[in-house]
């Protein structure tokens, strides 16, 4: 056995260990979060934690419902805005746009994906908050500080555009050209082909792309923290402030070690986020992998 083979052997084994470790990390994270939140899980029943609206850490009351409701509101608004816009953009980019236009639009989308969430937050504070406060709220005859569900939803929607667009374009591009040509040769118009053939064929993948985007919206922290208003109540309208889970974690890290069970409660919040995002991602990735395999 010479030196070269030894290096190959050891190097290979080492790389295998690293590779397996990188996968195990995910399990390790789940385990770490469960271990950290076990203190509160063993003291309070799960349904109280999830569905009680009493949030008073000083008195030992941890009802996450206002935060869960806030998260769902904000993500819901973002979804309603982002899905149609991103989907149409993706269809345009994959079916209609020429090489030149793609060359212009794609860098825009990449840049949009690269902008840090804190910058989105600053943008939200500078532009969307006053916009909602001065124009949208009076339009409905209500008053709003601008720091509300709608604002957070708009900012989040822009943040998840790139995720949905990129994955959708990939999925649409995987639809074989023959399928399109067959439809066109039967006399279908371009739009009919897109709607009834391409989209139908790509539907599972497109749904997966949207789910990925929504999962991203669930966990976004800084931008939401800066514009959602952060009042621990269940929002009743678009103009009410919300206090989503990630903002809760981010805002209270300072106190969490001084109040009993508080740290465990915050880790439980992180675990909730992790669980939702994990589930969403796993399902949509499984769908995407299956599609990719079907093509090859």
């Amino acid at each position: 056995m010479n030196g070269r083979r030894l290096v190959d052997n050891i190097g290979g084994k080492l790389m295998l260990v690293l590779t397996v470790l990188s996968g195990v990390l995910l399990l390790l994270m789940a385990w770490g979060l469960v271990a950290k939140s076990s203190a509160i899980l063993s003291l309070k029943p799960l349904d109280t934690l999830l569905f009680s609206g009493n949030w008073n850490p000083l008195r030992g009351e941890f009802g996450f419902f206002p935060f869960i409701a806030g998260t769902i509101w904000v993500v819901g608004v973002a979804t309603v805005i982002a899905v149609p816009v991103s989907l149409l953009t993706a269809i345009y980019l994959s079916e209609y746009a020429g090489r030149k236009i793609k060359g212009i639009v794609n860098p825009f989308i990449d840049l949009l994906a690269g902008i840090p969430s804190v910058v989105y937050g600053v943008w939200g504070v500078l532009m969307i908050v006053p916009f909602v406060k001065n124009y949208i709220a009076p339009l409905y005859g209500t008053f709003s500080s601008g720091y509300c569900v709608l604002t957070a939803g708009i900012v989040l929607a822009v943040m998840i555009f790139p995720v949905i667009i990129n994955v959708s374009v990939e999925v649409l591009n995987m639809v074989p050209r023959e399928v399109r040509e067959a439809s066109l040769s039967l006399g279908a118009t371009k739009w009919q082909t897109v709607k009834k053939v391409v989209l139908r064929r790509a539907m599972p993948g497109v749904i997966a792309a949207n789910v990925l985007g929504i999962a991203r919206a669930f966990g976004e922290t800084m931008a939401v923290l800066m514009v959602a208003g952060n009042v621990a109540m269940i929002p009743k309208s678009l103009m009410d402030p919300a206090y989503p889970l990630p903002a809760l974690i981010a805002n209270n890290y300072g106190e969490m070690l001084s109040i009993p069970l508080y740290d465990s409660a915050l880790f439980f919040a992180a675990l909730l986020l992790f669980a939702v995002v994990f589930f969403f991602n796993l399902v949509s990735r499984a769908v995407l992998v299956r599609i990719e395999k079907g093509i090859r």
Partner: protein, 269 residues
Amino acid sequence: MLLSTAIVMFSLLLILGTIVVKGLPALSLDMITKAPESGYYLGGGGGILNAIVGSLLLAAGASVVSMIFGIPVALYLNIYLTRKSKLAEVIRVALDVMCGVPSIVYGAFGFAIMLYLGVRASLLGGIIAVSLLIMPVMIRAIDEVVRLVPHELIEASYSVGANRFETVFKVVVRQTLPGIISAVLLGFGRGIGDAASVLFTTGFTDRISFSLLEPVATLPLAIFFQLGTPLPEVQQRAYASAFILTVIILVLSLSARFLVSRYGRHMVK
């Protein structure tokens, strides 16, 4: 459809425009050359050099750590494992899921690790959390590049007697270097811009610190704290800081693009 595409592009322009219009006038030389002086958050003199230095140190440290762990993984997935490997498939899905895990969860997990190790909020803690955050992104980006290496090239390497390890590090790495660098820059950019994961783990300080075990300031948090003050002059500085951060991100992103197009032509097609 054109309208939607226009909305997407317009929103980017709107964001950049807002940051430039609000940030540029507030920018001064002091901002980028001085650490905060006493009473900075009440409108006193100084700048955010502490945060710029801290963020660069943090992102560089985390990039190096994730490179050391990430590059071998990406290479292993493609060269040592075959296309049909179940292990590779499982790892790829796990990594994709990890790319989707929110950064605040990485922050919380990093914090748990730090409690376990007995490390307090410091540059080291931040590097741990941010490396975990950017590693999956980096691995998947490199993975995509390595996947495109022509199989003939690898076989040519084997046929002249190189073993897999030599093929990986002397042929594949050289072939994909621009892609690897741009993946590292992608990770660096992600690391420098992320706030939620460093919130618990790096702490914050007004001094310029280079020690691994001391807290350091980071740009996103500096923006966040300055924006949180009630004083308009300090908020102005938050806009200027956001401008600085955005410029750094844009430069990184453009240089990654440039590298790929400039050095991509030396690759064997």
